[in-house]
Structures are given as C-alpha cells and as structure tokens.
Amino acid sequence: MIEVKDITKSFGRKKVLTGVSFTASKGEITCLIGVNGVGKTTVLNAIMGLTSTNSGEILIDGKKINKESYEKITFIPDTITMLPTMRIHDAFEFMNDFYQSWNEERAKELLTFFRLQGHERISDLSKGNKAKVNLLLGLALDVDYVLMDEPFSGIDIFSREQIADVFTSHLIEDRGVIITTHEIKDIEHLIDKVVLLDNGIILKEFNAEQVREEQGKSIIDVMREVFRT
C-alpha cells in the first residue's frame, strides 16, 4: 500500500499541497482527480521522492521510500521522455540498460496489444501512439505500483479506449495504480477509488462502488457536489 500522510509542500511562498493524505492499495486503481490547477503531479512526484515535501511522510508498504522500495514503483509522466529520433526498439534497449526491472517479454506483448511496430520512429508517431509508447515503457517494468500522470490527456478517443483496455487486461495484474486526470468519462467504471483534490487540498476520498451502492450517486455527481461548493 502507498500511504500519503499529511504532506505539505510550498514553492516559495506558494502553498501547493496542504495536509494531503490518502492511500492507494495494490490490486486497485486509485484516481486522483482535480478540475484545475496544480497539485496532482506534485503528489506523484512526492511519492517518487522527486520533489521534497515540507512536512508529512509517504510510506510504501509501510516503509519510507528507499532504494529497495524505489524499485517497486514507476512513474509514467504525461509526455514521452525518450529522444524523438529513437525507434521504439531503441527505447526498449535504453530501458533495458537503465532498469533492472525491465521485462522485455511484457514490453513485446504490450507492443502487440497496442498494435505498434518496434521499428517505428518516435518522432513519426501520432500523438495517441506516442502516449501508448510512453505508457508501454512504464508498464513493461516489473513493479508493484504504477503512477500515471494524465494518461488520457490530449489524445484521440480510440487511443483512449485502447489505453483503458489495458486496465482490464492481465497486463495490470495485481498492481496498484494511481492515475491523475481531470476527465473521468472513459474510466468511470474502471476505477476503485477516487481522491478529489482542489488547490492542493484533498476534498474527498471515496470508493466508487460504495458511493453508487449506498448513496445512488455517480462519481460525477459527487464531483459536482464537492467542486461546486
């Protein structure tokens, strides 16, 4: 489990996160939703230890992030970080050299899943296919937790659908996933848990099925209540 406990972060005088707490379990998809502004990406960066926090702590399976737990998580940024001149299989090689947890077989499986070819050059890919390669590189790592920053942002509907298909496939298996998004339409029935974040404050954390069952509300109903007040 990833436990974010009361973290606060300021950039200069600007408070970006205030007392942020939530948990994300293995085998579950946790969705961090914010309609506007900063905070979501900073939370993911803080979990990865890429940004320092002013107070609070983050535990991965009960321990503070260290070299060992770092190997259990991967962070997939919202844009591909590979050089545009690389071909997909060059990116595979790069990942293989760089990460111990790189699983070449799963990478190939994902390539087929997304109907991509290894010889394609990253700069020649459409926006949607670039997003798929970006996701693929992270998902091909043998890790317990995957953090995805806006995986659905700015890409066409068919690419979004294909990416959503990953979540119901064995390629996610029993991993814990945290996704940030501002749009949940494509994944409304795929996510387990919702964390609503606004201006660096957690407004609500809930289980989607539970809210549907106990209150007869959709995720969007709850968002409307929370973000409009």
Partner: protein, 127 residues
C-alpha cells in the same frame, strides 16, 4: 454481450442482474461456461475487482458454480433457475402495477391493453 451501465447504480449489482436475465430467458443455458472474470471485465470495460465481486455473489446465490481452476458454469439446478425467473417477473409486475395504480386505471381496462402491447412487441421481435 452488451450492457448499458447506469453510472448511479453499483456495477456489480448490474452485472448480477444481467446474468439473471440471461439465465431466466434461457439465453445462457444451464451448465454453460461463462466468461472468465478478466474476459468479462474487458468486454464490459469494468473493473476486474467488481466482476470478481459479482461472481462471488452469484456463486453464493447458487447461480453459478466453479470447480477448482475451471471456468465458472451456470447452475444446472432447475429450482434456482425457476426462482430467478420468478424473482425477475415479480419485480417487473410490481413496477408495472405501481405505475398503473398511480393512474387509477381499473384492471379490466388494463388487461386487453397489456395483451395488445405484448403481442405488438412480440411481432416486432422485442420478446
């Protein structure tokens, strides 16, 4: 397999209902294999944990049986199948009666209209 999801109702309940309807209508024959949890999650674009929950509940209700690692199968128990059918029918009739009674329409007036509508639906292939 198609299922239009209501985003305000628990997904696992909707999945169970779908299976009940399929079993009651005979579209899913008794003893027939049903999709694996992951297959169903993928087809319906829903969370695999939710499917797991629906299957577990159906298992408890005796609607499906799973032996070891084999695929789950629809029950062969006619008593259970009859109960499912009756349950769905009672529910449908209750809804119907409530809305007709609210309009204060006597039963004698409703029955011929019901028959007519039922026949029409059948001819158009709805039933």
């Amino acid at each position: 397999m198609r299922l239009k999801l209501d985003s305000r109702a628990p997904v696992y309940v909707q999945v169970i209902r779908y299976f009940k309807e399929q079993i009651a209508s005979g579209a899913l024959e008794k003893g027939k294999e049903i999709p694996s949890r992951r297959e169903l999650a993928n087809t319906l674009k829903i969370n695999p944990n939710t499917v797991q929950r629906a299957y577990k509940e159906m298992e408890e209700l005796g609607l499906i049986n799973t032996e070891g690692n084999l695929p789950s199968k629809v029950t062969k128990d006619d008593v259970i199948i009859r109960q499912v059918r009756e349950g769905l029918l009672t529910e449908a009739i209750d809804t119907f009666v409530t809305s007709v009674q609210a309009l204060q329409i006597p039963l004698e007036e409703v029955i011929p209209l019901l028959k007519e509508s039922y026949e029409k639906e059948r001819e158009s292939g709805g039933i």
